[in-house]
Structures are given as structure tokens and as C-alpha cells.
Symmetry: D2
Subunit: 340 residues, 4 copies
């Protein structure tokens, strides 16, 4: 780490900081500039870094302390030069083939899920998405069918030879959801629910980790690190829009997160254009952009009758939309050397 | 709710929307303007509103659907014209007396907590704060002492005749934390962890509900509604800074949330200037502002030796700072007709 | 507009609002709901809307006033079902062909500009970009060559048969810049410099209007409206990244602005991936996404030796990068039915 | 500056960076850590810093380049340990007395301005505010009375023995506005209109520099630096709310900017609670907070009849509100050792 001393720091104060760093057992490398003294510290382990940085920052004669190393290791690009391919019960995510996950926002009934899943499968989706436990801003909104929803998903996926991804919100239900799902989704609102991250780190089921509404990419990778460090190496990142001042779109889908994660991490990245925009009319265009930008997968809400949906109808594609979209994605995928 | 038809909507399409609203059993009130037709719907219950709004928005001939009623009821100002006074085992929060909560960011040891608590108590604090379970962005950082931390807090608080507020992160631990704490804190990162909200809604222990990093005031009140609807009427809101583009401060402390909540809700509001700014040098000034703006309480990090803190040393006041601060707050409180 | 009365509004207060609307000469359409009265007002002209909305909002018994109509007319989609094609001295922007604008961030010398322009032209660019007047956050940074820069741009563009787009910052220089440039750029920082907008509204030279760092799409279209209303119909919008909390990228490039503007306006939209990301390593991927999402043009910074650039070297492509990029864009453009 | 080499940087690449820094004539200070090499460069002048940082960042084997020194000098705290007192024609801003600026948002007529000004003066305001040239998001809104508005302000201020602050938007009008006004306001939308900053840097009339909607504090101080470097030392900063995701308030008033600027700069800071909140009901509370936090001045919109205002009626105080507010501010000012 780099310690920038205050402009007014005295020689004694500079010595004090040097002594502290030496006392902790780290290398001390002062640089005496004309206007500021800067002290480099080498050999500081990750586990102590935050603490020592704060300690030094709390001194009145220190202006700023800057980290040099990234605050994650297992999630970092340095682990592997190629993107890690996660195996979702036979469906690879992170390889040349763009993984297509689709289905209803929420499992409302067997029929609705079947209708959506069947159309998705026919269009080329291999993983069925659908919410059994729904995070709702309002306690008055529909909260999902729960275990019944899980059973519907499993049954339909089996019949259609698809895999299942569904959200787990309550950490007590991780095991239960694992019995029905092939991939667990940790939602944006729970990205920093560390106890939940620890729980999903204990299983081997792949985890689709959505980016928090106001999470920096670095924090998102640290959340992934919680899962990886727990022993579950199967983490897939999912960008689903961040919160900004813009109100026309529900969120601002940050597609630059794809190449950014590619630089910083070996984990695959998936795009959720439905949550990311909140408007059906924008989903089609943004999905194409997601393929072009290099996403490893897509997760899209498809409803047989969006105007009758219990949740997120406004951002759901119809089955026809989805079929058409996948057809339009194929040449774009080809143009970037991928298949879908 | 108000449905704005698209400019190009035909008469048939307008009729279709009117029919849908009528079929749901609600009042239909069309207004035919020169450029747009607008249709008001009356009598729509909260539980169906989100769904019907999305349903109509999913129609291509509808431009926009706007809600009229606030999406919370029990938390709303209409419940009570005065601020509700929450009783934290004898310490009122929401009345004329500004509640003073202080203590270390994290319980590191008995000695450190004792030293901080004693100074806080002497300066006038009545509620001891301190983290036993700590949400850390990095899995490599200190995660708190757990149950040992809870015991330290309880023991010291009892000796000093203080009450205890501490964070609960893991919903399986709500009961345990209730055994030691007089008030549960739900942290900013868990503000939309609905299962945790439901759990703390089942007990009667007061809950200090921190505003999420990117939560609109309306969403914060909906999170409170989850707790209230669960049966726990003792909710205290806590503004602790929101995430913005500014990087000089850790967060942007939104003091306007105090008068805003005052308009919208009957629940008391507390300010956390330590998390809110992340810099000791700003905490003093912002705490004064918090009192002047009308906060019902303050929650402040105090560490006997911030440069030795395991966490958040840079934003902790020293015991001397805190004593001085409280002295300086008294005349401001008096100036706004409150006491501290 | 729609006026939502406060829950506690009395009959007299409701009558007062109705009377005010009637006195202004507009249609009054009250809807008496169970919990709120809502009053629709029809026939309110745009010029008075903001004022009357504020007037009613200032009444204590009015909860909220909502606009129904979009606050722009000439820029709106309702003017034309197809995207308007702007003619930049023979180069169409807004048609099937994606307009390729490229060149150095800043004109530093004749040689540097020539080297960049030649490579851009050979790769397929038709419009040469380059800053003669540079908006710099710091007064200590290079501010551009001024008129000499304009001369260099014009001379090189003529030799290479390219058109010139360059920024005008000082409204006194609009005429001068028009003598050298084929398209004027209004920068993000000046998007709400209304006097500058009025000046560029007086000429017929096309204007590339960049979106402000924190401008909502609606405000961007209102800025375009200033130019259109002034008499210059040749406005091209340019998304160049918005300011968010993320710090890894310089800005967050909001690609959803392309389909969003497509819904709301008939004006063409161009993407600036260089400013939008601030990192060369992200520019390539985001440019592909821009083509896939449907952008009508691209404006890209290319420098023969980015490590010797006086400005924005870190986000400039090399000439080789650019040549390769254009080759990679062609099949994507074809995949979305466009050419480049 | 500090150059962080990429993890994979070879010895040759490290040498290359060292050589570049040496070639530029600066001190080279490498620190060889276990995982990264870091190179400090000393003696880099401000004028070259941005360029050299970008140059190094553009190299593939450089991970990051960090600045050590603040990018402003004349505005910095290091210039003076005390706040500079700016003399607005006899009214000091920055001293013990909190400067009270008040008046209508917009000059609509002589009568309206007189009524407002008279009430403000009687309540204790010494500087009359009022817009003659108004920046309006919509071209259809009222744009101000122009020169007639300036005359009204001057005439009324003279009669009431007040000073005048008013916005200048068009840089061609700086001289004209200086003939009527005692202080020029540069609005939030023009904070990075560098040509305007240069123009107001050429006169000696004090400048009230509003913070841009999405300006970091550092950028705001750099904008001040433009004026100072131009030769006008009389700059007063004004926080007026930043743009965030919150929609209940018009902007988020960042009161922590006051102590933050206090640390970083010697320039006085004024708060605008009217623009900062956009709601009359919040203005009173936030003004109290502004005094408590240490603001050097206040600028408040007061309208005799807000419901008849042509602009910003919803955020204007009535004359009675203002009189009451000033009375309530006095004891708070006293509590923080100031007078008003």
C-alpha cells in the first residue's frame, strides 16, 4: 500500500508512520517528493490490509492511503488466463457457446411455466429460469409459489431436457433449492448478504451471482470471493443493471461490465437484459448488444401472455418475440466468433 | 392509478384498456385530452396494483402507468400526525429527547469496548452500539467476535446502565441476538433482505432499519412496512449515507431524508454520521447538522484508539472528540427545541 | 396534467384547485377516489405547463402534480415514424449506413493528425474528428491549438476527402468554427449551456449534441429542442457515457439510450465508446455492442502513438486497432441489417 | 505520481517505464513488491501530469497510475489556514457573520421583486438574489426578463441598501451584468463552461460558483481554479444539491461538502437549500442544518406568492416563512459560534 503524508507532516510524523509499518513487519519505502512524502509498504497480507489502511488514515498527518493489490484473489484474472467454464449439469457456461437461459419471471402456475418453457426450449434455450421465491419491494406484492414453484420448474425442465436456475433468498433454504435447481441465483439485493454467500459457498451447485444495484465491479468480485473461498468454485457473474439517476429505464444496464470483468477475472459473465432495462421494447436491442460485447450467457424473461403476468409483465418478451430474437442473435454471435 | 394511452392509440385500444379495468372491478374514469387519452382507475387494492400496472404497461398502446397512492400504509404519515415514540427498554426514541447511541464500530475486546462505552456513557450516551457480527466487503477482513461480542456488549451495558443496539445479519440468529440486545440493527446491505425483515418482524424488539446504499426513501419505507406488517411496530429508521458519484466521502449523507421521512411517515429517524461520511474530520460537523435538521437520534462510532481499531478507525471519534461533540450539540438541540 | 390532492385535502381545497385550473382556461376532470382526489387538466400549453405545475405543487393541500405530455415536440418521435437522415455535406447520418467518425482526441500537430486521419480514412471513416478547443477539467492541462487546429483539420480532411466534426465551446466562435467544420460538436459539459445551444440553433451546420454527464434522456431531448426551435433541424444525438458510482470505467456508457431514443425521438443517435469507457481495452468490445444495439454512427478516438498523446492517450485506439476494429464491425453491422 | 505495473510486467517493461520517467526529467523511485512493482515519480509539474499519467496508462504493462498531488493550487487549503473573506461591496462572506442572500427565484416584475426584497431585507438579508437570465431545461419555459430584470434588481437593492447577486449565463454579457450586480453567479449547468469561467476570471466582481449537478468536489475546486488563475481572487463556492437516484427530492443537498471544502480549500462555502431540495417543506429544516454544519452563507428563494410564481414556486418560501426561519436560525448560529 501507498501512504501519502499530509503536506504539513513533520519529520517526526513521517518517522512515526515508517515505524508503524516496520513494527507490523512490512517493507518501508519512503519517497521524499518536493510537496509530499509518500511511503510504500510491501508485504502487507490481504487479511490485514483494510485494517492497517484505516489505521494510518485515522492519523491527522496522513492525507490518504491507497491500495495497490486488488482485494480479491480467487476471483482474479491472475488465477487463469482463460475464462473458466462452469458446468451446469452438462450445460457449459463460459465457453464458445453462449448459454441461453430463459423462462418466466415468476412461476405462476404449471400451465404458464410450461407454455413459456416449451417456447424457450424450442427457440434454443437450455436453462429454464423462473422465480419460486421472489424478492418484492412491496410486502403487498406476490411473493412466489415457494416449494410448489420449485417442483413445477423441476418437472417441466426434466420433461423438456432443460436445466433449472432459480433464486434462493432465505439461507435456510439453500439445501432445499439445491434439490430442485441446477444453478442457484443470488439476487442483486442479496449480493452483500454475506451469510447467504457463505451458505452457497458450502455447496457445489453453480451460483449465478447478480451484481448489486449499486455495487462497484470490485465489490461484486469480492462477493464472488466469499463464495469461492467457501469452497464452491462454480460462480457465474450476472450483470442486471445498476441504479443511476436515469428514470426512463428501470436500471442502467452496464454492458461495459463484460469486458471489464474479462480483464479482472476469470469468471464467466452473463447479461440479464430484462431486469436491466425493465422495458420489453429495449430488451431485444440490448440482448443483441450483449452478444456483441462478449457475454457468456443471457438470461431473459419470457411470458406467454405478458399482460396477464403476476410480475414484471412490462419487461417480459412474448414467446414469439423470443423465438425471433434468438434467430436474430445467431448471426451476431457468429460475427464475434461464438455460437448460440 | 392513472393510465396514459400512447399518442397513436385507437378508439378500440382505449376501449380495451377501459374494459380491462372494468373487468378487474375498478372504477374507470377516462379523460380525453387533445393529444392523449388518460384513464383513471379507482379502487385498486395495494396487493394488485403492481401487477395491474405492469400488465397495462406491457400493452403497446399504453405509454405509461402512474401510481397515485403510496406503496406503504402502516409506515405512512397518515397513520399518525405525530412521530411515534419507540421504547427501547426505557429509552424513548422519537420524543423530544434526542437519543444518543455510541460505541465502537466493532467489539474487538472487553477492554476496548469498556473504554469506549464508559466514555460514551459519561458524555451522555444511553444506548451502546457495537458490532458483534460485521458485514465486511472483503472476506479477508475481520468478521466480528460473534456471540462473545454479544456477551461483552450485554455485560458492559448492564454495568453502565445502558441499552444495547447491535446488528443481526443472519436470520437464524435473530432470537439469539434478541437475548443480548435491546434493539436489533438491520444493516444497509440487508435492507432488502426480505427474509431477514420477516424474521425481525416476528419479534417485538425494536429494529433500527438502516437505509440501503441505493434505496429511495419510498423503498426504505416499504422495507419498514415488511417489519410492521409482520407484527413488530417498533421500527426506527436510520439514514447512513447513500452511494453517489462523489469519492471524497465514503457515502453522501442525505440529511434531507429527515424532513422527508417526517412528511411521509410517523416513524422516528436517526442519523449515522460515521458511516455517512467515513471521515472523522467530517463527523463532528455533520452530527451538528443532524441535530439541527431534526433527527430523533444519533448513532456514532467512538474508539479509544482509532489508529488501533480493527475496523473503520478512520471514521471513529476518539473518546475526547465525543465528549466535546456532545457538549457542542447541547445548545444546537436547545435551539431547535430539543434536548440531548 | 394530473393533480393529486393530499389525503387530508378538504372539499374547499379541492374546489380551489379546480377553480384555478378553470380560471387558467383549461379542462377540469376530477376523479374522486376512496383515498385521494385526482384532478386532470386538459389543454395546458407547453409554455405554461412548468409554471402551473409548480404553482399547484406549492399548495399545501396538493401532494403531487404529474405531467402527461413529453416536454419536447420537434425532437419527438411523433414528428416522424422514421429516423431523420442528417446530411453532413454528403455523408448521411441516420440511414442504413453507420457513419464512422474517427480521428485524434485532440489536434496536436499536422503530422499527428495526418497520420491518424489517413489510417482512419483507409479503414473506412468518412468524418474526421479532432479537438481544436478542448474542455479540460484542469486549467493546467492542454487546451487545444485553437484556430490553428481548425485549419489543420480542414486541410487534412480536404486532402483525404473527409468531413470534419469538431467541438465548439465558446459561443462567440460558432461562426468561425462553421467556416472550417462540417459538423459542430456540443460537448457533454455544455449540453445545458443554453446560450450556446441558441447560437448553434441559428446556423444550418449539423450539430452533434453530446449527452450531459448527468442528463436524463428527457433533458437531452429538451436540449436538442433548443437547437431545433432555433431553426437548425440538423441535430444528431451522441451518447458518451453517464456519471455513476462505478470507478473502474471513466463513465458508464448507456447503450440502452439508443433504443430509448429510438422510441422517443426521430433524431439519429451516435455512440462515443472512447469517452464512454475511458479505457482502450474496453473500447473495442463496446463499439461492437454499439453497432449491434442499433447506433446510427460511431465516433472514436484514434492516435498513432497513444503513449505520446497530449490528451486521453489511455482511451485512444492505435491506427492498427482501429483498422482491425472496423473489419470486425462489418459482419455485426450486416447481422443487424446495416452496413458500415 | 505512482505507477502500478501490471502483475505480468517483465523486467524490460519495468525498465521502459523507469526510462520514460527519467527521460521526462523526473525522479524515479521503484518499489519492488512481491506481487507488483510500483514506481514513484517526483517533480512532475501540474501542467504535464494529466498527459504523462495518460501516457503511462496507455501502456499494456501498466495497471494503474495514481496522482499524489491535488489538481488545484490557488484554491487549495495550503494557500491559507483560514477561510478567505470575500468582500461583496461591503458585505463580507467567509467571516464570522453568516451571509444571508435571499430574494425571488426569478425577477418577474418590479412589484414582485420589491415585495420579496423588502421582506428579505427586514428579516436580515443583506444580499438580494434574483434571476434575470434563467437557465431553463425547457425552451418553452420563461427565460427571464434580461436587462430589464437587472435594472429592477439594482434599483430595488439600492433603495433597500442591499447588494445584488444574479446569474450570468452568456459570456458576452459578463460586463453588462457586472454593471448591475455586486456578485456574479455561475450556475450549476455552467460549472464546466470553461470559456465562461475564463471571462468571469477577468473581472474582479466576486463570483458565486455553484457546484455542478454531477461534479465531484475536486472538479468543483478545479473550476474555481480556472477563475482564480484568470486573476479574479473573489470566488465563493455554493453547494446546491447533486444528482442522485433519489426522486423524492429534486436534488440531494450534500451538506458534507461544507466540512469537506473546509479541509481542502480556503474559499468560503454557501448553501442553497431551495435548489438543493426543490420542496418548500424541506427548505426550513435543511437551512438550519446548513448553519449548524458551518456554511458561510445561505442563498434562499423567497416569493411573496409562491403559487403565482413563474418559476420554482414549489421550492420558494413565503415572506412569512423566511422571517420565521431567520428568527429560528439565530440561536443555531450562536450555538456554533457564528452570527447571522
Amino acid at each position: 500500500m501507498i501512504v501519502v503524508m499530509a503536506a504539513h507532516a513533520t519529520e517526526t510524523e513521517i518517522k512515526d508512520v515508517e515505524q508503524r509499518i516496520a513494527d507490523w513487519g512490512y517493507g518501508v519505502h519512503p519517497i521524499y517528493g518536493a510537496e509530499r512524502t509518500v511511503i510504500g509498504a510491501t508485504g502487507v497480507p490481504e487479511a490485514d490490509k483494510a485494517r492497517y489502511m484505516e489505521s494510518l488514515e485515522s492519523l491527522p498527518y496522513v492525507e490518504q492511503v491507497m491500495a495497490i493489490l486488488k482485494p480479491y484473489k480467487l476471483a482474479s484474472r491472475e488465477i487463469s488466463p482463460t475464462t473458466t467454464v462452469i458446468d451446469v449439469k452438462g450445460v457449459p457456461v463460459g465457453g464458445n457457446q453462449i448459454a441461453l437461459m430463459a423462462g418466466p419471471c415468476t412461476v405462476e402456475s404449471y400451465e404458464q411455466t410450461w407454455e413459456s418453457a416449451k417456447a424457450c426450449k424450442e427457440a434454443g434455450a437450455t436453462i429454464l429460469r423462473g422465480g419460486a421465491y421472489k424478492p418484492s419491494t412491496s410486502p403487498y406484492s406476490f411473493q412466489g409459489l415457494g416449494i410448489e414453484g420449485l417442483q413445477i420448474l423441476r418437472d417441466i425442465a426434466d420433461k423438456l431436457d432443460m436445466k433449472v436456475v432459480t433464486e434462493v433468498m432465505d439461507l435456510r433454504l439453500v439445501e432445499t433449492v439445491c434439490q430442485y435447481a441446477d444453478m442457484l441465483q443470488v439476487g442483486a439485493r442479496n449480493m452483500q448478504n454475506y451469510d447467504l454467500l457463505r451458505e452457497v459457498g458450502k455447496v457445489k451447485t453453480p451460483v449465478l451471482l447478480k451484481r448489486g444495484l449499486s455495487a462497484k465491479i470490485e465489490e461484486w468480485l469480492q462477493a464472488a470471493e466469499y463464495i469461492l473461498i467457501g469452497g464452491n468454485p462454480n460462480v457465474i457473474l450476472c450483470e442486471r443493471g445498476i441504479r443511476t439517476f436515469e428514470t426512463y429505464t428501470r436500471n442502467t444496464l452496464d454492458l461495459s461490465a463484460v469486458p471489464a470483468v474479462r480483464e479482472l477475472s476469470h469468471l464467466p459473465v452473463v447479461i440479464d437484459p430484462s431486469q436491466g432495462t425493465g422495458k420489453r421494447s429495449l430488451v431485444m436491442a440490448m440482448t443483441k448488444a450483449a452478444v456483441a460485447v462478449g457475454a457468456d450467457g443471457l438470461i431473459i424473461e419470457v411470458h406467454p401472455h405478458p399482460d396477464q403476468a403476476l410480475k414484471d409483465g412490462a419487461q417480459s418478451l412474448t414467446c414469439e418475440n423470443f423465438t425471433q430474437l434468438v434467430a436474430e442473435l445467431k448471426p451476431i454471435a457468429a460475427a464475434v466468433g461464438r455460437s448460440i
